[in-house]
């Protein structure tokens, strides 16, 4: 889905998910590793504050990925 949105719309797609090898396999270009499968953009086990802080950090990283000039599949670890 990520790849086809990007191909058809010609706009960057940042995918946040936990299993990086799958994102690489399906052809995602801008990859942001998530926290866990049931909560990719949050850390609810650590309490509401930490949860939101984590989410904000990952979303900012995804926005950074959308602005990155890349030539191949790239994993944004920070």
């Amino acid at each position: 889905m990520t790849r086809e949105i990007e191909r058809v719309a010609q706009i960057p797609v940042a995918q946040i998910a936990t299993i990086v090898p799958i994102m690489l396999t399906v052809g995602a270009n801008r990859i942001v590793p998530g926290v866990a499968i049931p909560h990719p953009v949050g850390n609810p086990e650590a309490g509401p504050e930490e949860d939101k802080k984590t989410r904000r950090k990952l979303v900012l990283r995804a926005l950074k990925a959308l602005q990155a000039d890349i030539s191949e599949q790239t994993i944004f670890e920070s």
Binding site: E4, I11, V13
Partner: protein, 348 residues
């Protein structure tokens, strides 16, 4: 009585000439021509090549519907038991023509068809599911071998014999799986494969994974302060009660919800129906899957321009690659039309 076979070849193998006569219109010649002569030898008395259609590669490619209709008419009149095109090796236009005419003949006339191509020929991806494509070398150096495999498979198809796996029969697999009994159960077979792998021996998986395409990255967002960003998810977040009846797994559809008036996804209004992960956290706070709360904050702070008013959602568990690609294409077209500049897609 021997079986009747009709062949299809291009202007080059038909002896008409090269690129200068690529617009050669379909013409029927009696008996075998070019590679068909060798094919006839291989068939022996079992089958007879009664006619050969010669058609220019350029003609077929540029007038695909007309060319297909003309060839279909010829074949319909001849009523063969088998139709054989090519082999096209790695010739792109020839491969597409061979695949297209084979697929059309099998579909419209219910006559078994086969062709031969190099695995990277573009005709393979397009037509592998609709006809039999024997795996060949990249060039005519592999002619003899290609025709041997094609003749053997062709006779089996005519007689309606049960086919073994694609790699045994020599054709490129069509994505069809058949159920049958093996003498050893799965766990034992898996151990056998593992031992072969550890010993550095050749091994063959029983369940081939689909191969995925890669694409060059789209250009980055230049002006994030004025960019519209859309949220998409395969994490199965939907309004409570799942009004569009999205499937919990093996999704065949996606849904689109207006989030323009919302600052947060609350458990009173949204839930996860995804059948492939523990939904406890998502159902306490759907923002852990779709980060709407933070997106609104960042939008207000002016970190990016605007959040797209719609959330696109589906369930990405057991969902076929073909369906996921279709969702992506449809969503991509809508986002493009809506002037969206970038997407954050979350998956579970």
């Amino acid at each position: 009585m021997s079986y009747r076979v009709v062949c299809y070849i291009n202007q080059f193998y038909g002896g008409k000439g090269g690129e200068e006569v690529a617009d050669f219109k379909p013409e029927l010649v009696e008996g075998p021509v070019g590679p068909g002569l060798e094919l006839q030898k291989l068939f022996g008395d079992e089958a007879r090549v009664i006619g050969t259609i010669i058609c220019g590669d350029g003609y077929y490619a540029e007038h695909i519907e007309k060319a297909r209709a003309e060839c279909l008419k010829i074949v319909e009149d001849l009523k063969p038991d088998l139709f054989v095109a090519g082999p096209a090796f790695n010739a792109g236009r020839y491969g597409v023509a061979c695949g297209d005419i084979c697929a059309a003949i099998t579909q419209s006339l219910d006559i078994p068809s086969l062709t031969g191509m190099f695995p990277e020929n573009p005709g393979v991806e397009l037509y592998r599911a609709q006809t039999f494509i024997v795996k060949t070398e990249g060039s005519a150096r592999g002619m003899k071998q290609a025709l041997t495999s094609m003749a053997r498979l062709g006779l089996k198809l005519i007689k309606g014999e049960l086919l073994g796996p694609a790699y045994e029969e020599g054709y490129i697999h069509r994505g069809i799986r058949k159920n049958f009994f093996k003498d050893k159960r799965g766990s034992l077979r898996a151990i056998d494969i593992l031992l072969q792998k550890i010993a550095g021996q050749e091994f063959r998986t029983e369940y081939e994974m689909p191969t995925f395409k890669k694409i060059p990255p789209a250009p980055p967002i230049k002006d994030i302060k004025h960019a519209t960003i859309a949220l998409v998810t395969s994490g199965g977040i939907v309004p409570r009660g799942n009004p569009d009846r999205l499937r919990v797994s093996s999704a065949e559809s996606y849904a689109k919800y207006d989030i323009s008036g919302l600052d947060d996804l609350t458990p009173d209004e949204f839930e996860s129906i995804h059948g492939g992960y523990d939904r406890m956290w998502a159902n306490l706070d759907p923002d852990v899957v779709v980060p709407l709360d933070v997106m609104r904050e960042l939008e207000r702070e002016g970190v990016f321009g605007k959040l797209h008013p719609y959330l696109y959602t589906t369930t990405g568990t057991g969902t076929s690659v073909a369906n996921a690609e279709r969702f992506g294409q449809e969503i991509g077209r809508e986002l493009k039309e809506a002037g969206v500049d970038g997407v954050i897609l979350t998956s579970t």
